[in-house]
Subunit: 211 residues, 2 copies
């Protein structure tokens, strides 16, 4: 929306306010990305928005289009909503309560990064693609709930198992990885997270798919 044309640009306050909106949304997107322990390149892969663009969005207050905002939001498990002004405090309160899940521990983020790297290596090997796909899916899930992981030891164990995946022992070692990832997830499922206000169990994990 251009306000710099020959029309009267008298209301600078209004103009600043419009830019403010894009910046406020960018701040939200950035903090959510960081909260989930994602790099800009991770988010780029998920959302389809180029990393360079994400960088500019986060730093330069780009006046995004809805489709781009939606892509980024969805990659971060957020939705765009139009909320009556009077309801804004209540909505913020709800969002905050959902967001009370802890920040990703640095130790955990490191291990996840190492596993991510090793996953890439394993993809270059001749292993059963079916099993690999299952493991990849489990790993994607793990990245989603990495902020719930408190003990990096299990991640260390998964990383070790991943390093054992060679051509000769490919499928068996990979299945070991899958088992350990499933174990990690199952342990986390039994964590009882009850935010002080609703909704209850905002981050309850579904027991839907398995390797």
């Amino acid at each position: 929306m251009y306000k710099s044309r020959s029309t009267v640009v008298g209301d600078l306050k209004g103009q600043i306010k419009l830019n403010y909106e894009a910046e406020a949304l960018a701040v939200t997107l950035k903090s959510e990305r960081e909260r989930q322990g994602l790099s800009q390149r991770d988010l780029s892969t998920r959302s389809g928005v180029p990393q360079s663009h994400i960088s500019k969005i986060e730093t330069a207050g780009v006046d995004l289009r809805i489709s781009s905002l939606a892509a980024l939001a969805h990659a971060l498990d957020l939705e765009i909503a139009l909320v009556p002004r009077k309801a804004v405090p209540a909505v913020q309160s709800i969002s905050r309560s959902v967001d009370t899940a802890p920040i990703v521990l640095p130790e955990v983020a490191k291990h996840i990064a190492s596993i991510s790297k090793q996953m890439s290596n394993v993809k270059g090997l001749s292993v059963d693609p079916h099993v690999l796909q299952g493991v990849q899916r489990q790993f994607n899930d793990m990245q989603q709930y990495q902020n719930l992981i408190r003990d990096p030891a299990m991640l260390s164990s998964i990383y070790d198992a991943l390093k054992e995946v060679k051509n000769v022992d490919g499928v068996d070692a990979l299945k070991q990885v899958a088992i350990q990832m499933a174990r990690l997830r199952n342990d986390l499922v039994h964590l009882d997270i009850k935010p002080k206000s609703f909704p209850r169990r905002a981050y309850q994990l579904d027991g839907d798919d398995d390797a």
Copy 2:
């Protein structure tokens, strides 16, 4: 966000979903505009977005920029929010409860339109700008809560008083208008709107300013 470039356009589902977002927001904007009894030209005046553009937005799924969306939303007393997916049902519930105020009666809409027209006429007269400003502000408010007005008779009375505003009797007649508008608002303040779920009294009017 273009998905029609040389890159793989494999995920049609994803693309459709992105367009869906713009359309869903347009639907929300349109229904809120109608709920408030505003024409596209009214909204254009308030938001600074051209009427022709609003028409296209409402009918053609334009991929708006945030600044344009914000301008339209603010003109309709809405805010853009990024909400965790898990919180979406709760947020919708809040928005709905705030939105339970009734639709504008056609009779009421007509009277408001007549008053709006007469307000324009009065602006061309030599009347006390200070008083006129106060009345204009009251009228703006009235447009905001016109969906709460059940009895058009008071509006008729206000319109009659407005027609009495001539050069010779300008300030006194105009003050009569102000008094009647204030009376209408005060009557409405005592309407007790309690949605079945929170927040209570979403549309409670503040007793802040007077003529």
